[in-house]
Symmetry: C2
Subunit: 360 residues, 2 copies
Amino acid sequence: MTSIEGSKRLKTKPSTTKRPATLADVARMAGVVAMTASRAINQSGYVSAEVRERVSQAVKKLNYRPNMVARQLRVRHLNAIGILLPDIANPFSTKLVDGVRQVFDEAGYTTFIATTSGSIQQESASLQAFVDHRVDGLIVATRGTKMGDEVLRDISRRGIPTVTIGRPVKLASVDSVTANHWQGAFDAVTHLLSIGHRNIGFVGISPEDRLSLRRYRGYAAALEQAGLDVCTEYIVGPPNAPAFATQEDGFAGILSLAKLRRPPSAIFARNDFTAIGAMRAAHTLGMRVPDDVAIAGFDNIPLAAFTTPPLTTVAQPIAEQGAAAARFLLDRITATKSRASRKISMECKLIVRGSTVAER
Amino acid sequence: MTSIEGSKRLKTKPSTTKRPATLADVARMAGVVAMTASRAINQSGYVSAEVRERVSQAVKKLNYRPNMVARQLRVRHLNAIGILLPDIANPFSTKLVDGVRQVFDEAGYTTFIATTSGSIQQESASLQAFVDHRVDGLIVATRGTKMGDEVLRDISRRGIPTVTIGRPVKLASVDSVTANHWQGAFDAVTHLLSIGHRNIGFVGISPEDRLSLRRYRGYAAALEQAGLDVCTEYIVGPPNAPAFATQEDGFAGILSLAKLRRPPSAIFARNDFTAIGAMRAAHTLGMRVPDDVAIAGFDNIPLAAFTTPPLTTVAQPIAEQGAAAARFLLDRITATKSRASRKISMECKLIVRGSTVAER
DNA sequence: CTGTTAGCGCATTCAG
DNA sequence: CTGAATGCGCTAACAG
């Protein structure tokens, strides 16, 4: 190829492959040493106005961007955090991310997202990836699973600031933010009771797994307070899984409940997708909502107000949870010493619409 | 609230927790030098079975994980790509990501996601962040905007492999994958024409911006082929924006169309959310779907089959687009030399349901 | 098969 | 206010 002398000269010349400009390039052009350019760019330490100007000219001319990778290696933080989401299709996710970014954008952090695609292996792989790439902190919004909890413990042992959203966690060094799903479910079912329903089904979880769901426990508590027994026949749905229950689950749920000798007159669905599937199934069976069967959901997805009839549901403060989690995380990231874990729970709000109470 | 200096970075703690094990730690424990441990771990070069075993013991004992940041600094690739999404709430996004990961997981790459939250500034900031953190490639699935295109050009000039999804792009070094939205819209409107409609509205874009939408142009072409004129009164919706049109836009659209002297008998909505909003508005006006007004959407979101009536819509092959984009990108990442840009377009499929043709 | 040397791009530390 | 030396953790390249 080329002589040794030749290859040596390449070092000083801009190589043919357009490599991005480095701090050294900027410094050279500005007639200073790299360190000075660094100071000028990061506004750290003292730099004369004149040098600052020359450096900023060079930055512009070379289209320089600091290499965050090299920087992290040196300063040990990336100025980036990771959010792990269960399933980005859920409208929940957008608002959550908005809430988180509202805090972290202002603090100068980048927010990266990863998803689990409803698989436990993906969950730990994604978590590991964030750790391996040295994000400064983690917000975990996936549903709790045994294996997921283990990875979480592993991560918190590594000292990576972590906060969870919507999942209870018993690690001392992990903060958590959640909505009071129990209370939301309790309120929804109490509403159904108050309008006269006595046979109320729960759609979205298998009877065996039901106790792992706070939404189910709120449902059961409301029945109990009304002096009613939980009827296991009325609990239908898929086994607990990292993924959410879907419209298909709601559809199938109603079909099976309708076969009972005494079908429920009202349905509390685990979430709005499930509720919408349930409404569809009711329609196909010729049952009118809410007259023949009242249906309530959970989450208040944007479409819930636009179904026919509009869906009674429980709204949880999503962006607020995201923002609260972000503040917890930022505290941990910037804290000089470890602190006790904090947990907060936010109230849910019942929104009554036409799927339980006929309008007008 | 005080504004934060643009590039000023927050000071963070000198981590009090014990630092994670490094390659040197592993090597020391295994009684070899770092390089040998590296070879054993990465299965590169020759390592005796015995040493390999000792290293793997040490890795396990120390709970060692390679520092991807340090590695990228050396090898110049992260084994990670970035996906830029417009709005993760769209069901589109999940399937797209699944399609992409299907390819990149197998290739051993991590996939990070960022979103624009419907803002152009966020779009370029997110793109920049990916670049600054040295991802190996980029998949950009946001709606085209002038400023976004500029950032894209900037990035491709930096030599970062990039492929776009769903947005036309004229950069020589950028591949692109899209569905044929024009054809999908054409088919949907042709369907409406075939069942006798002559006055067909388009809901989801302002008349001024309509020509920027392929979905609109397909609508117009179908009318034209049927010998009908486009009636500007029938085009309603918000200005073109990075965000999607929503159910609210669909709702408002029908309300305004209903006020016309001669309202359309059928509506083609820009997307399913808009269509669902339109259906709701029709119901509140006492119009029956499809008898008084037929409504078709676009995207075939999972809920589209579960509305009342179920929504006629156009399905685009989403995961397939994601996978195709991923293969293009992987080609570019692993290619030794630059190649001409490739574009592919996939067919959409009309799905007829009860919102245009009464069932049974 | 294993070790040595060097350096990726940056900022901390200490001298001027 | 600016500069020089140093090393973060890792691996390419070249000895042995």
